[in-house]
């Protein structure tokens, strides 16, 4: 891949991590109990670190006209390429778990492929992130079991979250020109391979947790063109507040 395509590729992946990290940071002091509160923000911190490493590399590949901070804090909704799933709000704890569980699977597969590429920076970031995603997936899948195979109320809540969020899963294995370029260079799994991996994992886990996988429904699309749900704007307003209000403010 040439450096322009590679930088776009890193920005997409970095955006998924950044927006997920922000959603998890919102749980700080709002977790259901102290230990889980700490767990959630620690997992979010890992994602923030991955986002930082990816955006630093993307900025470098672009030629240095923008910094990683510019990418994070000075782009608007239409310039973000995170999946719509990542920006969905923390409606209740079940929504957090379903969103993060599915995205953990996506990132696991993505980093597995990236850990083998020739690009030393990217394979290094991926190898490090793989260790982290392994315990992310473990943590969220434990909650899928506990809530799904828990009480009538917890089961109702998590099945509702699954049903509501399912329409955003299609984007995870959709392909556009950049994806095809990345796949050709062996930087990304093919869409059908990603879909098969996700469905196999999710079906096995949901069966264990007595949850049902929704029948095929309408899948939404658009984030690759910068089209998002209304939630991203509100998220960015909060995340970017400081740099917008006080440009170039330093810590």
């Amino acid at each position: 891949m040439d450096s322009l395509n590679l930088s776009k590729f890193c920005i997409r992946l970095g955006d998924h991590c950044l927006i997920m990290a922000h959603r998890q940071s919102e749980l700080c002091s709002n977790g259901p109990f102290l230990e889980e509160d700490i767990a959630q923000i620690n997992l979010g911190l890992d994602l923030l670190g991955q986002a930082e490493a990816l955006l630093i590399y993307a900025a470098k590949l672009e030629g240095g006209s923008r910094s990683a901070d510019d990418l994070a804090f000075r782009r608007s909704e239409r310039q973000f390429h995170n999946f719509m799933l990542t920006e969905q709000p923390n409606t209740d704890f079940a929504f957090v778990i379903v969103r993060q569980y599915i995205m953990s699977l996506y990132l696991l597969k993505t980093y597995q492929v990236l850990s083998k590429v020739e690009d030393e920076t990217l394979s290094g970031i991926a190898l490090k992130a793989l260790k982290e995603l392994t315990y992310h997936e473990r943590h969220f899948s434990m909650w899928i079991n506990r809530l799904g195979d828990g009480t009538a109320e917890s089961k109702l809540r998590i099945q509702t979250a699954v049903d509501e969020l399912w329409m955003f899963v299609g984007e995870l294995y959709e392909e556009d020109a950049l994806d095809l370029t990345a796949q050709k260079a062996l930087y990304a799994p093919k869409g059908e391979e990603m879909k098969a991996f996700l469905m196999e994992q999710i079906t096995a886990k949901f069966t264990e947790a007595t949850l049902s996988v929704p029948e095929s429904v309408y899948m939404t699309t658009g984030s690759k063109q910068g089209i998002h749900t209304e939630y991203l704007g509100f998220l960015l307003t909060e995340m970017q507040y400081l740099q917008r209000a006080y440009p170039d403010a330093k810590w």
Partner: protein, 163 residues
């Protein structure tokens, strides 16, 4: 800059930089220094982050630069290396004992083992050394630690996870 600076001297200085989260061990003992290059342009330190989002990284970089500058090395470049990924396997027995004496149960065994992957390690209490302990929370005060309680002396403690 002095050309007489040796790699060993730089390592000696780096061994004086404590881990900001665990002040009883230094960054060399933690395995975070992967290499040091000394050439006519100055010193280049290759630093390996423990976790992607470790909030202490910026502070560690500043502390390294300050330590070297205080000792006459003003031209210092810090390069982050991710590969191979940092692992607790790089801590030696002496470092692990320092952690234990500080009250943190050191990483037990090899990161690559199945047991540590499944969180089924036998963790000894750093106070009374009993292995009759119980995990309370997978995450503790930092991402690298879990919270345990000793069922014999009833003391809560941090366990440095294998990674």
């Amino acid at each position: 800059m002095k050309t007489s600076i040796s790699k060993a001297f730089v390592y000696q200085l780096l061994a004086k930089v404590p881990d900001p989260e665990i002040p009883v061990v230094n960054i060399v003992e933690m395995g975070m220094i992967r290499d040091v290059l000394v050439n006519s342009d100055g010193v280049e330190v290759f630093l390996c982050p423990t976790y992607s989002g470790c909030p202490a990284m910026d502070m560690i970089e500043t502390m390294v630069k300050e330590m070297l500058a205080d000792n006459g090395i003003v031209t210092c470049k810090i390069t982050l290396v991710y590969k191979p990924a940092w692992t607790t396997d790089w801590m030696n027995a002496e470092t692990k004992e320092k952690l234990r004496a500080f009250g943190i149960a050191p990483p037990n065994g090899k990161a690559s083992s199945k047991k540590s992957m499944l969180n089924k390690e036998l963790v000894a209490c750093p106070q009374c050394r009993s292995e009759n302990t119980e995990i309370k929370s997978m995450f503790g005060s930092t991402a690298c630690k879990s919270l345990y309680t000793c069922l014999d002396c009833l003391e809560p403690f941090d366990y440095f996870k294998c990674i």
